[in-house]
């Protein structure tokens, strides 16, 4: 039941016919109408247009496409849900073959014995959560905040971070094994997958951690076709707490203490009143003395455990001068999984500064950013902001400080402010978790030469003809 493509391929890309022979005419297209829909992700950043879009459905098709690109030395860029906010999935060169991976979205195996799930790389977090929940399981890291469309393969390729990172770390932390198509067309299985007769149950086994080579590679070292993730028993008992503080310093100190305990599935801090008001308008109206707050979510398989842990969170907060604000914001935050960010666009277009930093460094960067906001009279100019920070792993956090130019005519000012913010973040020890077009130049200014030389040595060894996502990590012109 093939429906003939309505927008016909122009057949001008040199690989069109051969790609069509691999996947069929209905899953490859180089018409500019089709291409136009692949020229942006969910940020304002732009790069080169893809030359042709292909939608593989099997690893064998991916292998054939990679072989074709290798033979012809053609650039190949894999892309997931393309809703990242750093431009990572956009080609840096013209005429690239863009792999739209979303058709590879099957769940291959839920292995209840070793508590892993293996999915094709184009599987989306939201659907995976949903399917696991039906079976009585949950993921550790649940997916980036854009997990409705964000894919597992895409996220682990750019070190994405988001839901439940407070307990389980970022997206790569949940990975046990990867299936990757290499530039020579061969397929490698990492983790315990080196042993063809073994299950995929552990990441570190017998040899060095090749999984880690491909995590966060931005698609430069191979095409991920399957990802095996850790799973956990679904925990039905959820408790919540919202705690307010008179100063960011108090909030940060309490936040660090809570995060160190590792109790919370999600621990999210809003650094000032403006941030809370942008997220939950009116929430602090009856708490005039409160300037910063955090919301904590505990999820456990035991009711008493969940209750006690949130009690401890409250106790820690109160010891640091905190005030109990109830739990409405925490409930909303957790219940609106993957649906929290989009309504923020009512405030304007999102200019983000997503990065990682030690929890203790938050007040320092916020004081710098508040000075920038004041200097540019942000609120008078109608530009709102949100400074939200998610506890991650043991004692670091994300810095999600985002501004919202409300209309096109405010974008120029917004971009000026945004660039100053990015500089301040790097100056205060912030480390982007992804690069993309957003951070790459600033990261390259800071990066140690030996570090990058090591990466390039690996790149050259694995992809000698530089077909995978060429010019990524070289800097943005």
């Amino acid at each position: 039941m093939i429906v003939v493509a309505i927008v016909k391929s122009s057949e001008s890309h040199p690989l069109y016919k051969k790609l069509a022979a691999i996947v069929g005419e209905d899953r490859v297209n180089d018409n500019q109408v089709i291409i136009s829909a692949y020229t942006k992700d969910a940020s304002h950043l732009t790069a080169e247009k893809p030359g042709i879009v292909v939608m593989p459905e099997t690893v064998e098709e991916v292998q054939a496409i990679v072989n074709l690109c290798s033979e012809t030395k053609s650039p190949l860029v894999p892309a997931g849900g393309r809703n990242g906010i750093c431009g990572a999935c956009l080609p840096r060169v013209t005429q690239a073959v863009l792999l739209d991976m979303v058709k590879m979205d099957r769940i291959i195996n839920i292995d209840e014995d070793v508590m892993t799930v293996t999915v094709e790389a184009g599987q989306r977090w939201a659907e995976l959560i949903h399917r696991l929940d039906e079976k009585g399981y949950k993921l550790g890291f649940r997916g980036p905040y854009g997990g409705n469309a964000g894919t597992v393969g895409g996220s682990v390729s750019i070190n994405s971070i988001g839901y439940a990172a407070s307990k389980y770390g970022s997206s790569p932390d949940g990975v046990v094994s990867l299936e990757v198509v290499l530039a020579n067309g061969e397929v490698i299985q990492t983790g315990t997958g080196w042993n063809k007769t073994a299950k995929l149950f552990a990441r570190y086994s017998s040899f060095n951690d090749i999984t880690g080579v491909f995590l966060g590679d931005a698609g430069t070292l191979g095409v991920k076709t399957k990802v095996t993730l850790k799973i956990y028993l679904r925990a039905e008992f959820i408790t919540h707490a919202d705690m307010g503080f008179k100063t960011l310093e108090e909030a940060t100190a309490a936040f660090l203490e809570v995060q160190k305990r590792g109790f919370t599935e999600e621990l999210i801090l809003l650094a000032d009143r403006q941030s809370t008001d942008t997220f939950f308008p009116g929430f602090l109206d009856s708490h005039k003395e409160i300037h910063a707050m955090f919301s904590a979510i505990v999820q456990e398989t035991d009711e008493q455990l969940a209750a006690r842990k949130i009690e401890i969170v409250r106790e820690i907060a109160l010891e640091h001068g905190g005030k109990d604000l109830g739990n409405f914001a925490a409930q909303m935050h957790w219940n609106e999984l993957f649906n929290l960010v989009q309504p923020l666009f009512n405030n304007g277009f999102w200019l983000n500064t997503c990065h990682l930093r030690p929890i203790t460094s938050l007040p320092e960067i916020m004081h710098k950013l508040w000075a920038i906001f004041d200097k540019h009279k942000m609120l008078e100019n109608g530009i709102k902001w949100i400074a939200s920070c998610l506890g991650a792993d043991r004692a670091y956090m994300t810095g999600w400080i985002t501004i919202f130019p409300p209309s096109k005519d405010k974008m120029e000012l917004g971009l000026k402010i945004w660039n100053e913010m990015l500089d301040a973040i790097m100056e205060t020890g912030g480390c982007p978790y992804w690069n993309g077009l957003l951070w790459e130049n600033r990261s390259l200014e800071k990066v140690d030469k030996n570090f990058m030389d090591t990466y390039w040595t690996i790149k050259k060894a694995l992809d000698p003809d530089n077909i995978f996502s060429p010019h990524v990590f070289e800097g943005v012109k």
């Binding site: 136009s36 989306r124 469309a149 009856s286 609106e336 993957f338 649906n339 960010v341 989009q342 666009f345």
Partner: protein, 523 residues
């Protein structure tokens, strides 16, 4: 080329951040909505260009001149069924990014610049000259009813619509038989003309107003105060488009399911199937997302004794489209069939023995989809489905409502100040163990509390019976709010409140829910 109509949506086109929910959203998340890959067109054709975020990128490239209009752009522009599932899924603005309106604006611009689909010109000519899109003789429009003297005056007009009059005649015939059996005081317009829906959908809007004016005048002459139609397309046109195009009328417009729902609730008619039967229901986009009628058809189906209604994976606001709307069926027939086949598969997956719908165009599309996928699932329109089950009036079952529900309704009705701060039009749905009613805010401290589930609530509240008992015992609004907040924040096994936000937070705030939440101690 200039795009004067499309550029009216300049801010939407700039603001859309391409988050991809319109293309790939899944049902788990987002307040338990039943969204699943909302774009039925993209689900068939695969490429992002066919989903809303891709369309936004392409529209921006057209406006900037990065892309030039050619045959492919025209073909692409008419692949959207304008079903509105993307907009309903979108939470980026209070209304959602308005893709159906933008697609229709683009089509208008294409037509203005002579980038046309030939078939659509034929349809427009037929509507202008023969008052129907099917090139059928106008004077034979009512032939399907045989020899019958239609009264010149009646309180109800059955507006037949072109598809029922010329293509899906059984729907028209059974509607009339149903109205006869119920004993309705109704007639049809001897000179009924096309409602003009298809003209709006394909961007050929010039003559729309003429048809509307003609029909309004004809209706006025009958003295009718109610228009009933079994066509979801006609219903949406009358209810939404005619008004937004600037025309006015003083009669009520009801879909046949709304009309029957009222009669059933008033005990005017009862339906009973001879043996038990499991059915599922397809929401027509024109009736559901565009006109917000979701519950009336369900109540009608559920009112039939021995009939069990089971829902498809996507339903109500997030129901997948049948593929026929927005000019897609006339432009890209095979695409429409494939989309319909996907919907048939969803219906089959429920285990239902019948797929019921409430629109002749959906009926036709789904039947074609059924043939395309070689399915044996019967597709039946509401009037045709109901007709064999008419039992006459209800003389026995009256007022068997849950007493706790009635007590809660009584309590809320007597305490409208609970809802102070909410704007007119705010709707909250209440659920006590499956028994539903809703509160509609009609003004400052004024509410109505209909004892039925809301069509399109802002918020759904679910209460344990003990929570309700506790609340209705409270005298003051302040105590009620305090208790309400406590039941939400500190629930016990027996006493709890849960809520489901059906609108995004920004839209809720615009409707005044901030004060409501503050008074309830939630924030």
């Amino acid at each position: 080329m200039l795009f004067p109509n499309l550029t009216k949506y300049d801010e939407d086109l700039w603001l859309c951040a391409r988050c991809g929910d319109c293309s790939l959203a899944d049902k788990t998340v987002a307040s338990n909505r039943d969204v699943y890959h909302p774009c039925a067109v993209k689900n068939v054709l695969g490429f992002e260009a066919y989903a809303a975020r891709g369309r936004v990128m392409i529209m921006n490239d057209l406006i900037s001149g990065e892309l030039e209009v050619d045959e492919n752009v025209i073909n692409w522009a008419y692949t959207c069924t304008t079903c509105k599932n993307c907009q309903e899924t979108c939470t980026a603005t209070a209304e959602g990014i308005r893709i159906p309106d933008m697609v229709e604006a683009l089509r208008k611009d294409l037509v203005t610049n002579d980038f046309v689909v030939e078939k659509h010109g034929v349809i427009e000519d037929s509507i202008i000259n023969k008052f129907n899109p099917y090139k059928e003789p106008h004077n034979r429009r009512m032939d399907l009813f045989g020899e019958r003297d239609w009264p010149e005056k009646a309180s109800v007009i059955y507006f037949v619509g072109c598809t029922s009059a010329y293509r899906e005649k059984e729907i028209a015939r059974t509607t009339v038989q149903l109205l006869d059996q119920i004993g309705a005081d109704f007639t049809v317009l001897s000179d009924e003309r096309c409602c003009g829906s298809v003209l709006l959908r394909v961007g050929r809007t010039k003559s729309f107003g003429n048809h509307t004016t003609h029909n309004i005048e004809a209706i006025k002459r009958t003295g009718a105060n109610t228009i009933v139609t079994a066509c979801a397309g006609c219903f949406r046109t009358w209810k939404v488009d005619v008004v937004s195009e600037g025309d006015d009328y003083d009669f009520e417009v009801l879909h046949i399911t709304e009309y029957l729902d009222r009669l059933i609730r008033d005990g005017e008619v009862v339906f009973k199937a001879p043996k038990s039967m499991k059915v599922t229901y397809h929401d027509p986009c024109h009736l559901g997302r565009h006109a917000e009628v979701y519950e009336a058809p369900r109540r009608v189906i559920e009112a039939i004794s021995n009939v069990e209604l089971v829902e498809m994976e996507t339903n109500k606001r997030y129901a997948h489209c049948c593929g026929s709307g927005g000019g897609v069926k006339s432009t890209h027939g095979e695409l429409a069939d494939k989309i319909a086949a996907d919907r048939i598969k969803e219906a089959e997956d429920t285990g239902a023995k019948v797929l019921v719908t409430a629109c002749p165009f959906c009926h036709r599309g789904l039947e074609d989809g059924s043939k395309y996928s070689r399915s044996n699932l019967p597709v039946i329109d509401v009037p045709e489905f109901l007709l064999p089950f008419v039992q006459g009036k209800d003389t026995i079952t009256k007022n068997v409502e849950n007493p706790l529900k009635m007590k809660f309704i009584e309590y809320l009705s007597a305490h409208p100040k609970i809802f102070e701060g909410l704007k007119k039009g705010a709707v909250i749905d209440y659920d006590i163990e499956g028994d539903r009613f809703h509160v509609l805010v009609t003004g400052k401290s004024e509410i109505e509390v209909p004892p039925i589930r809301a069509e399109n609530p802002d918020v759904e509240l679910t209460f344990s019976p003990k929570a309700v008992e506790k609340l209705v015992a409270l005298d003051s609004v302040v105590d009620y709010a305090k208790q309400f907040g406590a039941l939400f924040k500190e629930p016990t096994d027996d006493e709890w409140i849960k809520f489901n936000l059906r609108l995004n937070i920004v839209k809720l705030l615009m409707k005044g829910y901030r004060k409501f939440a503050q008074r309830a101690g939630l924030i």
